[in-house]
């Protein structure tokens, strides 16, 4: 008999698991433990509209507080889980309270990868992951402030775009030879680099940061080639690492994330995990992955919730991602590794195009720039492993779904 389910982590996954459990008819005790003091909220706006002040704080939470009351959810917010005793099926909070569970769901998320070079701890060096990170960044993004962004990935570039809109003088330093090099095709990198340049962002690639300098606050960022970039404020966006400490200390199997199977079960039968913190099998792509995405958190949480409540469902989804930079929307679906051919649809100069990744005639992934139609079609084609005709695919006049 499952009478107590604990969820640790109040992000996308935790919020979704609650919803699924109650909608599926779970009537037992349901507790959400979150180390942030806020009601579960959405993170994507933190680098975009919320940062720029175009979105009020009361629009961030997924649900009103009344929703949790109506559904008898015990919220333990601003409370950190510090120890998990898997054998005793107990969780201990920082203030000493212990909670017993029948089933536990870990939605621990990921933490920003920390810069380790000299000067990295100076005041004025910021990371952007949670709501509490935003106010000091907002305060620093005054018109004319010199911002140096370290890392040309999603977070860095979205923040750069927002800072430009707020009137900052922005430089992005990227270690690789192009921005977003791990996630998009060269022509997509090039398109976004040009968009940033057009909006006045200084993008510098092949640039490794070796130290940050300043008396108390950061004043400049120094690179391996000897160049120096004056900075009033620095944003570090150099990736994230899965938050696995609680799980690994409890003896759960972890390897670049908490190891789970397609049912979102960890190596302990009473403990499940969902979201950025998991290393999980992608059934569609036949290998294990760790994904940092809203969609994955949402879908794994749903699967885990149903399985904790006695169902038997597998997580079998094609992942997708998005990024907003200036007035451009980048939509990515699928995983492109293992492709043997790229096909461009449309002309980047038209500001709307997509890149298909094929393995033989099978579509593995698609990157759509301001092209929602191709993106939506690709979601279906990838999931169903539809065989496509690469020749027809290159014809942008032909709808993607007709390229069979």
């Amino acid at each position: 008999m499952i009478s107590t389910i604990l969820i640790i982590g109040g992000g996308q996954a935790g919020a979704q698991a609650i919803d699924t459990l109650r909608r599926d008819g779970y009537g037992g005790r349901l507790v959400l433990i979150g180390d942030e003091p806020h009601l579960p909220y959405q993170r994507p706006p933190l680098s975009k509209k919320y940062l720029s002040g175009d979105m009020a704080a009361d629009r961030l939470p997924f649900r009103h507080r009344s929703f949790y009351d109506e559904h008898r959810i015990e919220l333990k917010l601003g409370r950190k889980a510090v120890r998990l005793d898997a054998a005793a099926r107990q969780v201990e909070l920082a203030d000493g309270e212990t909670l017993a569970y029948d089933r536990l769901l870990l939605c621990l998320g990921a933490a920003s990868r920390v810069l380790t070079c000299p000067g990295a701890a100076l005041a004025g060096v910021h990371y952007l992951r949670g709501l509490a990170d935003v106010p000091p960044i907002q305060a620093a993004f005054r018109p004319g402030a010199r911002l140096v962004v370290i890392g040309g990935g999603y977070i860095g570039l979205e923040t750069a775009a927002t800072a430009r809109k707020m009137g900052c003088d922005v430089t992005v330093l990227e270690m690789a030879d192009r921005i977003m090099n791990r996630v998009v095709a060269p022509c997509v990198s090039q398109y976004f680099a040009q968009e940033h340049v057009t909006h006045g962002v200084n993008i510098v690639c092949d640039m490794r940061v070796i130290r940050l300098e300043g008396r108390e606050r950061v004043e400049r960022v120094v690179c391996a080639d000897g160049s120096s970039h004056a900075a009033d404020v620095v944003i570090v966006g150099v990736g994230a690492v899965a938050a696995t400490e609680l799980a690994s200390e409890a003896g759960l199997s972890c390897d670049n994330g908490i190891m789970v199977d397609e049912y979102c079960r960890t190596s302990d039968a009473a403990i499940y995990a969902a979201g950025d913190c998991t290393n999980h099998p992608s059934l569609r792509f036949g290998r294990r992955v760790r994904l940092e995405s809203v969609d994955n958190a949402f879908e794994q949480a749903k699967t885990a919730a149903l399985n904790m409540h006695g169902k038997e469902v597998v997580h079998d989804r094609v992942p997708w991602f998005w990024s907003d930079q200036f007035d451009n929307k980048l939509l990515i679906v699928g995983l492109s590794q293992d492709y043997d051919r790229q096909v461009l649809r449309g002309d980047p100069a038209s500001r709307s195009f997509s890149v298909c990744y094929l393995k033989g005639r099978e579509l593995l992934a698609l990157e759509a720039v301001n092209h929602s139609k191709d993106y939506m079609s690709a979601r279906k084609l990838i999931a169903e492993r539809t065989l496509l005709d690469p020749g027809k695919l290159a014809d942008n006049e032909l709808a993607l779904k007709e390229a069979v």
Binding site: P44, P45, R63, F67, F298, W322, K329, S372, K373, M376
Partner: protein, 106 residues
Amino acid sequence: MPKIVFTGPGGRRREIDAPPGITLMEAARQNGVDGIVAQCGGACACATCHVYVDPAWLGRLQPPEEMEEGMLGTAWEPRTNSRLSCQIHITADLDGLEVTVPQRQG
């Protein structure tokens, strides 16, 4: 405050308060309206906040932009009165708006 009426997939009607300045999707999600999934939170990236707008109200909404139309084309069972609720901004004159939630999203 404007009130919006949602008819759920099972036919149940539910009236919620929707303050001006937020979107129809946000009002639905905050209140936990059945069938509004809204995975992407309003970025127009997932088409899981699809609703059918009462035809009497359709002409009173701002028409969809190209991005939304591209999304709707492959939403589950799109109709001529399909909209993404994340793209409908609540204003005082939408008081009484009626929408129906599809049987499923995506």
